[in-house]
């Protein structure tokens, strides 16, 4: 199974009125998968230029989403032991001196050291994930970073946590 592009890109334009209330307007367009990221963003600006003059609220900016779908519909349910509230928390040091974390839903309990909450390195699946965070997926050429562009320097630690919610 893999993720494939479903053919649409959704632009969300956000507006703010005098009372500081915010609302957005979403538009989806059919873009070929050969469209570059630069052109996707540029096209959003073109649409904004037509849209913004219709409103007397302040235009705050746009975000966009590239919509995907599964190549194959899952044949069955996840295994009995799965629980998305049981998470693997992976922490990394970033270049700015802070720490950033990722939560993997339904962390496989076999990866957790017995009688502890700790997820140890030296396990293939754990090491492969740490590598893709620090080095990036094949072909990208750089590792992950924060939303403000600080690259991750090194792996810090990983352990199991439980994070429930009122929705179950």
């Amino acid at each position: 199974m893999s993720t494939i592009y479903n053919g649409t890109v959704t632009y969300t334009f956000q507006f703010e009125d005098r009372d500081r209330n915010k609302r957005s307007c979403a538009l989806s367009f059919l873009l070929p998968d050969t469209t570059t990221l630069a052109n996707i963003v540029a096209y959003g600006d073109v649409v904004a230029a037509e849209l913004v003059p219709l409103s007397n609220a302040n235009y705050l900016g746009l975000s966009l989403a590239i919509n995907t779908r599964e190549s194959v519909v899952p044949a069955g349910l996840a295994v009995e032991a799965s629980d998305v509230e049981r998470k693997g928390l992976f922490s990394f040091f970033n270049i700015g001196g802070g720490v950033s974390s990722f939560q993997i839903p339904s962390i496989d309990n076999t990866l957790v050291t017995d009688e502890t909450q700790r997820i140890a390195t030296g396990q293939d699946a754990v090491d492969d994930f740490i590598a893709v965070v620090l080095n990036g997926p094949p072909g990208l050429g750089n590792g992950a970073g924060t939303a403000t562009g600080l690259n991750f320097e090194a792996f810090k630690e990983a352990f199991k946590i439980h994070k429930g919610s009122s929705k179950g």
Binding site: M1, S2, T3, G7, T8, V9, T10, F15, E16, R18, D19, N21, R23, S24, C25, S28, F29, L30, L31, D33, T34, T36, L37, A38, I40, V47, E50, L51, L54, S55, N56, A57, N58, L62, S63, A65, I66, T68, E70, L77, A78, V79, E80, S82, D83, V84, E85, Q103, P105, D128, F129, V133, G136, P137, G139, L140, A144, G145, A147, K167
Partner: protein, 157 residues
């Protein structure tokens, strides 16, 4: 450009949770390449989890314009709604927050509620309904027809 790569996981009880990561991605990357990177991240994450990865998403965080205060009389709870019919008969709409007062019919039985279609700014905006290169579609990818059926003002409480 910072891109957020998101994956959605579902467990046996059909509850879902998301995991996401951000990478600085070249703007020369095509959509096909971006989906390839998403799958590369997915291949690294799935072995860690016994839930099913059921979907993925790529998002560009908001690009903020300059600040400032909106004009007097602006109200995002009043929206201009443009309705259209897709080529398959599925109705779609676009909702624009706080439309300019001059776009709205101020006379007759529908004063304050009906949109004046002849206004040039609306006509220019409607031009992207029928853009030949990148057609406007609904949220499941069905092309929206090139004909505006009706425009109206909607109020939210």
């Amino acid at each position: 450009m910072i891109i957020t790569y998101q994956l959605l996981f579902q467990d046996r009880d059909k509850h879902v949770r998301r995991t996401q990561i951000s990478y600085d991605t070249p703007t020369s990357a095509t959509i096909a390449a971006l989906v390839g990177f998403l799958n590369g991240y997915r291949d690294a994450v799935q072995p860690l989890s016994n839930a099913l990865c059921i979907s993925g998403r790529l998002a560009v965080p908001p690009k903020r314009e300059l600040g400032g205060t909106a004009g007097v009389g602006s109200n995002v709870y009043r929206s201009l709604v443009l309705f259209s019919l897709s080529n398959t008969g599925r109705a779609g709409h676009i909702q624009i927050p706080s439309p300019l007062p001059e776009l709205v019919d101020s006379t007759g039985d529908f004063a304050g509620f009906r949109v004046l279609e002849a206004i040039p700014t609306i006509e220019a905006a409607l031009s992207f309904y029928s853009a030949p290169t990148y057609p406007l579609v609904d949220d499941v990818g069905l092309p929206i027809g090139d004909k505006l059926e009706v425009g109206a003002i909607r109020f939210e409480t």
